[in-house]
Structures are given as structure tokens and as C-alpha cells.
């Protein structure tokens, strides 16, 4: 696990109760743009067009909110604390600064996005068929 105290000096420490929404779908990315979970579990909830929802459970060391910051889009998911959660949050420039001083953080971020992408991939099937 990352040495949080060293790496996240610039981050804002937050303690959230179960059920707390860290952000909602459609929100503009705000001050707490990106968070990393120190303890606890957060559900990243993706609304589908048919009304169903996909829930991606995120735990210790996983990052929340990265895709919208990198693409400049509004929130496309909702993040809800499943348990009591301790996390560190940054605004965009603080996060980029943290990345520049902590090599490990970039690895954690990429790993976290990769696991989210893997779940989304498995849910997503476009209606184009290719015969190989």
C-alpha cells in the first residue's frame, strides 16, 4: 500500500458515513475531483440506458473520479460509500502535482482504471459483428 501520509500531504482527508454520495451522475467536477480510498468500500454506480445500474465495488488504494477529470466531462457515474470510508481528495491541479511526486500513485491510478475498464468492457457489447 502507498505511504498515504507521505504521498497525500496535499490531499484533503475525508471520513464519510455509509450511504454518503461522493458525487452524482451529471455533476460538474468540483473541488474534490479525484479521491483515493484509504479504508472502506465505495460503489461506483453506472446508469444504463435501459434503467438498470452496474455497480463496481472499489476498495483500498483505488481511485475515484479520474475519467471525468482527464476528459473534462461531467460525472458519468455516481460514487456512493458502501461502508464507512476514509479517503483523500484533491482538485485537479493537486492531483497532477501528487502524480508528479509519487511514481506509485500513477501505477495505482492506472491499475484502478484498468480494473474499472475491464468490468465495463464485459458489460458493453456494441451491435457490430465482425467475423474473423
Amino acid at each position: 500500500m502507498i505511504n498515504f501520509e507521505n504521498v497525500f500531504q496535499k490531499g484533503k482527508f475525508r471520513k464519510c458515513e455509509p450511504g454518503t454520495k461522493l458525487f452524482s451522475t451529471g455533476e460538474i467536477v468540483s473541488e474534490n475531483a479525484i479521491s483515493i480510498i484509504k479504508t472502506g468500500q465505495v460503489d461506483l454506480v453506472i446508469p444504463k440506458k435501459d434503467g438498470a445500474k452496474i455497480s463496481i465495488p472499489l476498495g483500498e488504494g483505488e481511485l475515484i473520479g479520474v475519467p471525468e477529470v482527464y476528459t473534462g466531462s461531467k460525472r458519468v457515474t455516481e460514487a456512493v460509500c458502501r461502508s464507512q470510508v476514509e479517503c483523500y481528495s484533491w482538485n485537479e491541479s493537486e492531483f497532477l502535482e501528487a502524480l508528479s511526486i509519487a511514481w506509485e500513485l500513477s501505477l495505482y491510478t492506472i491499475r484502478s482504471l484498468a480494473s474499472q475498464l475491464k468490468i465495463i468492457n464485459s458489460e458493453f457489447v456494441e451491435k457490430i459483428h465482425i467475423n474473423i
Binding site: 458519468v76 508528479s100 511514481w103 491499475r111 475498464l117 465482425i130 474473423i132
Partner: protein, 139 residues
């Protein structure tokens, strides 16, 4: 740095696509025909690819056919999930046109390139973020 890590790779690390030398292409470049599979879903491998020329489909196997998840354009990195997450390939990547050229880097070489310059962190995070947002919007 490993013995494999020569000046051509360092230049590429600093300059990105502009820094691709003929020697680098010769050493790491691979040419693919249309529909030729580059990465096969379910295989255990951890090479990382950068599309140099042409285009590729990211595909998911559904029964006997493949369905398109995404399209990869020149300059984009793919296969990186196996390096940073797990070795088993979660999707298939195939060339979507003839004469598609990819740079194929073994994991260790790619990690050394990745550490040379912050551009690679930005690039990979940016590309993965775009894929996530794009796919979530289509779900």
C-alpha cells in the same frame, strides 16, 4: 534500465511518436493484415503495443463472433492493462486494415519507457479515461 534499453528507446520515451527512429521500428515494429489478431482474449501475455500506422478494433468474443468495443487510432497505446492490472487479456485486438503497423514492447521495456517522461502517465490515463467515459455513455 535493462540492456535492451538503448538510445532509440530513450529518445522515444522523451519525444513520443516524433521520436520513433527507423531502428526502433525495425526492432519493435510488426506489420499486420486486415483482421489479423494482435492480442487474443484469454491469453496470458504482457507485451504493450503502440499503434504506429493503420487502425485496430478492440473486440469481445461473443459465441462464434466478435463484437466491437472500440477503435484504436495511430499513436494510441493498447495492451497496457495486462501490465498494470493482470496478465490475462480481457479483449481481442485485431488490425482493421492491411499494413497496420504496431510497435510491440515487452513489459520491462515498456515500463522503462514509461518512467522516462510524465507524458506516458498522462497519455495512458487520458486514453483509458476516454475509453471509460465513451463506453459508459453507450451502456
Amino acid at each position: 534500465m535493462t540492456d535492451d534499453f538503448d538510445n532509440d528507446l530513450i529518445k522515444f520515451g522523451f519525444e513520443g511518436s516524433k521520436g520513433i527512429s527507423d531502428e526502433l521500428l525495425e526492432k519493435y515494429g510488426k506489420k499486420y493484415n486486415k483482421n489479423q489478431i494482435i492480442i487474443n482474449e484469454g491469453d496470458a501475455s504482457d507485451d504493450v503495443y503502440i499503434l504506429y500506422e493503420g487502425s485496430c478494433f478492440v473486440l469481445k468474443r461473443v459465441g462464434e463472433t466478435y463484437k466491437v468495443l472500440n477503435i484504436i487510432n495511430p499513436g494510441e497505446v493498447f495492451g497496457e492493462m495486462a501490465v498494470f492490472n493482470e496478465k490475462i487479456r480481457s479483449a481481442t485486438v485485431a488490425a482493421s486494415e492491411d499494413n497496420t503497423i504496431c510497435l510491440k514492447f515487452p513489459k520491462d521495456v515498456f515500463i522503462n519507457i514509461f518512467r522516462i517522461h510524465p507524458r506516458w502517465v498522462d497519455k495512458i490515463l487520458g486514453e483509458m479515461s476516454e475509453r471509460i467515459v465513451e463506453m459508459v455513455k453507450k451502456l
